[in-house]
Subunit: 720 residues, 2 copies
């Protein structure tokens, strides 16, 4: 189901098979300890008490046994193949220990100990050495500086962490950059009755990336949804492609992420125009959206969102039916439904008739259906039977407030049964905590996602709707245009060789022209006569711009003249410009001539740009010109390469995109022409990694069907 282009691309990243890491038959704990409260003791205790189904070898030169397990003094003493080494010794000894175990055939490690990159100085060197060892010997290391890994599959039952006890088995895989947060997440999950399939605290990522772990969780049949906590991501495009593979097709699994931490380094990285607009959090928002990852803001939301995915029935659309026994919560649900981008079903005639026949006169039949405060389970059943069968309802939310007459447990059974047969997502909201607890248990046991409040329920349902739509949408390979790729490579070679990493406009325009952008007609003139001739060929009025290898800020030196309407003006303009520029910059400034450009008719001004994020990759930017971009910062970002749908979404995602629609007699702008330019830009920066930064400012866009035109452009190269 995954287009081959994507598989091909993703396979370049060499996904590692991590199954032996999660399901080892033998584990050595290097640094196991008898001392209660120590990390080395916590690990061995969790392994043994966690019911690990393989064999554990505690390694400790000073102790004979731990928890009844005979210790070995060194790994060399183990007369068995060790699938997994768990390392809890001080950081300086780790390199040697891993090397020794690798010599004896161990390929997978979890390094718990801290003392690496995070402490700076010596630690950074230590981490680099460990990375080199991994690459050289083909090892897999989770960590260093992590809590460890867990696999609750009863066939394995591995708890190689120093957390407090084993989580309950369940449908969620969790990977986390913060170990301590994990202990809190697991404790919270225990409290609300959420279980996990696998769990990884990945620490410093010396030799296993998030993408490897995501693929491992995706391949695990016991994992229905993947939760992640990350503080920063790298290799943006690889991350996006991996997530695409996981979130599409018949076995699609949702990825739900908390991303924290706004790296100051990200913001400082690019002082360029595009870069300075890219506060790193907006960029992460864009990358996660592009990857199809459901981003949440809090742990509560993470678990709420996960809960709806425990039921794998996906809604066909976003039309939602609500049944309630109280008006207020019905209004709350309505607000939340609309605010989270879903819609309320308009019931069919048949449904309304059925409701009218079965419900009391005071009931409200319109969605939300209010079965009234004295409703018992029979009335809920009647209402649910009717609305769940309505073709216009993609999913159902059932709200129960514990009123005097409410038989909560029986209503819970009705909801569970409805979910069992209706083939649509059914979510329950049992408002309260104490009086409804028996009902909550029935629903949880019956696999019905259950919430205390309608807003939480709707927010989670909306995430599932978005995932359903996303997972069904066909993966597009980015469109490839016929372009003059080699010619552009030569231009970049020449300009770099000539020591001009910032291209003069003449060259920048040529780059865009050779990538099929519609570029304003221009010619280089070396004399006033040539300028007049060029202007005649191009058509008056024209713009003149000075061209010289060192002249970058043309306007500042009088090197731009606009709207020259006749031959005389062009001739005079040429002479004035040459004289003026020499006057400002010195008589010996190198001038190659004057660029004669067509003076373009007015249109909507747009800015396109690209800057390379040092961690994530080439970041495309789109915004309207002038104040919209500069004062209102109303811009959109995506990582290149992008497909057509992404380009269209990017354009639609800025607040001011309405200005591109028909408005007050002005015609709509040619949005497809803008999308085309974005796609070509995506190809250009993907083909030529030496382009470190570029802007098209402005791209002038005309009315629908009339296209767009590059009026000015800037391209900056890196030497590497």
């Amino acid at each position: 189901m995954i287009p081959s282009a994507v598989i091909e691309h993703a396979s370049q990243t060499q996904a590692v098979n991590l199954e032996p890491l999660f399901a080892p038959r033998s584990v050595a704990v290097v640094g196991a300890s008898r001392t209660t409260g120590s990390v080395g003791n916590a690990i061995i205790t969790n392994l043994i008490y966690g019911g690990f189904t393989g064999v554990v070898y505690p390694v400790n030169p000073k102790t004979k046994s731990i928890l009844g397990n005979r210790c070995v003094k060194t790994v060399e003493e183990i007369d068995d193949h060790v699938d997994l080494g768990v390392i809890v010794i001080p950081a300086p000894q780790i390199q040697a220990a891993v090397a020794t175990m690798a010599d004896r055939g161990t390929r997978h490690f979890v390094v718990i100990s801290a003392g690496f990159k995070e402490v700076g100085g010596e630690g950074v060197k230590r981490e680099n050495d460990l990375r080199a060892l991994c690459q050289e010997r083909g090892l897999t290391i989770v960590g260093p500086n992590c809590l460890g890994i867990i696999n609750t599959d009863p066939a394995v039952s591995l708890n190689a962490t120093f957390g407090r006890g084993m989580p309950a088995p369940g449908p969620f895989g969790l990977i986390s950059q913060s170990g301590a947060l994990c202990t809190a997440l697991l404790d919270y999950a225990k409290g609300v009755g959420i279980g996990f399939s696998r769990f990884v605290s990945f620490g410093n990522k010396v030799a296993v990336r998030e993408t490897d772990l995501l693929l491992a969780l995706a391949a695990d049949p016991l994992t229905k949804a993947i939760l992640m906590y990350v503080e920063e991501l790298s290799h943006g495009q690889e991350f996006i492609e991996t997530c695409h593979r996981i979130t599409h097709g018949p076995n699609a699994k949702p990825i739900i992420a908390i991303k924290t931490g706004r790296t100051s380094e990200g913001a400082a990285a690019a002082a360029s125009h595009t870069g300075s607009l890219a506060g790193s959090d907006e960029v992460y928002d864009a990358v996660l959206a592009q990857a199809g990852v459901l981003r949440v803001d809090s742990v509560k939301e993470l678990f709420d969102c996960a809960e709806v995915f425990e039921d794998q029935t996906l809604p066909n659309g976003k039309m939602t039916a609500v049944v309630t026994n109280a008006g207020g919560p019905g209004i709350m649900a309505t607000d939340a439904c609309i605010r989270s981008g879903m819609k309320l079903t308009r019931f069919q005639e048949y449904t309304l008739k059925s409701l009218k026949y079965q419900l009391p006169a005071a009931a409200s039949l319109k969605n939300p259906v209010d079965v009234i405060g004295d409703a018992k389970h029979d009335r809920y059943r009647a209402a649910l039977d009717a609305v769940a069968a309505d073709e216009g309802a993609d999913q159902v939310l059932v709200i129960v407030t514990p009123q005097t007459m409410t038989d909560v447990t029986q209503i819970a059974e009705v909801i569970r049964d409805t979910k069992g047969f209706c083939g649509k997502p059914v979510v329950a909201c049992l408002m309260g905590l104490v009086d409804v607890s028996a009902g909550v248990k029935i629903l949880r046991d019956g696999g019905v996602p259950t919430f205390a409040f309608p807003e939480d329920a709707m927010r989670a349902m909306s995430a599932k709707c978005r995932f359903a739509a996303w997972s069904r949408r066909p993966l597009e390979a980015p469109r490839r245009f016929e372009v003059e790729r080699d010619a552009v490579a030569r231009i970049l070679d020449e300009e770099l060789a000539a020591g001009r990493p910032q291209l003069i406009e003449l060259k920048a325009l040529e780059v865009f022209r050779r990538y099929g952008f519609p570029v304003v007609p221009y010619e280089l003139a070396r004399t006033a006569d040539e300028a007049v001739a060029a202007a005649t060929r191009i058509g008056l009025p024209v713009v003149l711009k000075i061209v010289g290898p060192k002249i970058l800020h043309k306007t500042d030196v009088g090197g731009v003249k606009l709207n020259l309407g006749d031959e005389q003006a062009v001739r005079q303009g040429y002479a004035d410009m040459i004289a003026g520029v020499r006057d400002k910059l010195g008589a010996d400034v190198e001038i190659w001539g004057v660029l004669v450009q067509k003076m373009l008719p007015k249109g909507r001004e747009i800015i396109l740009g690209m800057s390379r994020d040092p961690r994530l990759g080439p970041l495309l930017m789109f915004g309207l010109g002038g104040i919209y971009t500069e004062a209102l910062k109303d811009v959109a970002f995506r990582l290149a390469p992008i497909d057509e749908r992404t380009a269209t979404e990017m354009i639609g995602s800025i607040r001011s995109h309405k200005l591109l629609l028909a408005f007050r007699g002005e015609p709509a702008s040619d949005v497809p022409a803008v999308a085309d330019a974005l796609l070509r830009l995506s190809q250009l920066v993907t083909d030529h990694p030496r382009i470190s930064e570029l802007d098209v400012n402005p791209l002038i866009v005309y009315a629908q069907g009339k296209g767009a035109m590059v009026a000015d452009a800037r391209v900056i190269l890196t030497g590497n």
Copy 2:
């Protein structure tokens, strides 16, 4: 502490003394019942089992006793003064029952029964009759169609509801428009250990408004914070003033509200320019902000927010110190701190030295202070002593993740003790649920607001910061300008008398001029000669606009000519205009002449407006001109009258307000002149309720110090 102007204004609304309602000595339950599961039974059971300290009289003609209490057949049989009547009989019998009790001296009632406004038809009449009875006899009625009232004060212990049991006593007063939601709220509160002082489900509000109830809760010494759930508000300005009284001064109490329900009627009410922009939810947002009410989006947030107010220590500012034993949650806290508008303290030298001396080398001393995963309570104590003493820290958040070495309960004791002596708000975040539960109990018992996640903690702390700043800010009476109020009243009289509810521009401009707005210079000319003379006096270039009693859409009939630069152009323009308009509208169209206006130099165009919301009152609007208002809907609303600070906030609250600042060489706009115009507008619409709608479009604003100018205006009156 409350400026007398405000008290005076608020006292006009005649606050009712509701104490006898909340603390009756005798209660009659009319419609008490033996039938388990009935509402009449639930009420009497709650009263008796709830430990009511007064006397209860069950009224039921068919039963001798209920729960051992001797029944009376009718209220006439009661040989005692009845302070409170609780009515649970069918709606048609209620009017008579209330009247009979009123005859016998009862002044306060809770009408539980439904069957009034909410059922339409006969019910509406029934409700109007009941309201008339209340007004005539000076009665207080909570309801009808409500859950009832509760007062947990041990001296009273009144539970006159049909909910499930009595909530625990606690510091929160709750008023709610939805009865069923209350049952859920109370049940949830029971589960999380939150208690209430007083509780009112106010139903249809026949004779007691939210404002009466708010004042009653404000006066109650046991209530520290007021929670409310509302679906709609009325009498906006009264609501705002009541909330101001409650939320200011030394006994200020916070009001935290959930407002749901977007009334379609509100949106439909005013098809006018201002009105159509006022989707009712934006309006409620504005009104609640103006009232100083903390608006929350969900029940969870309501309780979170309430929790921080259980501790009444208010922060002096928004500088926040964070202590954590894990990096990840520290980052989450940092993100949440910044996102919710607070700041992280930069510690003083002394604090840093103290931390450095006491914490291990690996600890992070910068805010958030990371005491590292193996920290026990002694290290928390050292860190908390240092940061809580830092003058730059207005409040402290302490995060504890339950790691292997973490002694949660002892750390909880340290946090509780720190809170005890430091005199600043201290909030705890014990991450997780199960392992931390003993610690949570210690903290809750010690009065320390405690959360499971840092985002929730920070959001609540931010609400407290906003409340602290708000409650200290002096209440300003709206500034009154010297204006020609009577002259404007006469204009309105004349125009209404002449059957011109939409004022012609000439009159509209005069209204604004008499209220001290800077208005574009204009004169009415009746001949071409007069027009030329006027233009000369005003100064060229000028604009001509046709004036006639029936000519409203001037542009459409060729009745506007811009930028006429010399006498000849003015003369010709006058002639052409008269001829053109007669050509379009017929030779006999009444023309009063031509308005000669100065052609204003370019400036920033702004729109001011007002429309009267049928429920809330006169709604002022502010936005930038053209696309900003019409396409981007980037406008701000406030209810008139407003004070200077509100005017300034209103201007700053639109997204595009940055365009009023200095930008790209353009000078900043004269914002004080805009604020002045808003204040005058506020006075104008407050002085003249007959103005149902108006626009200043545009107000042209010039550079700082250069003022603003009304260029065009529209005023619409109502006959009443």
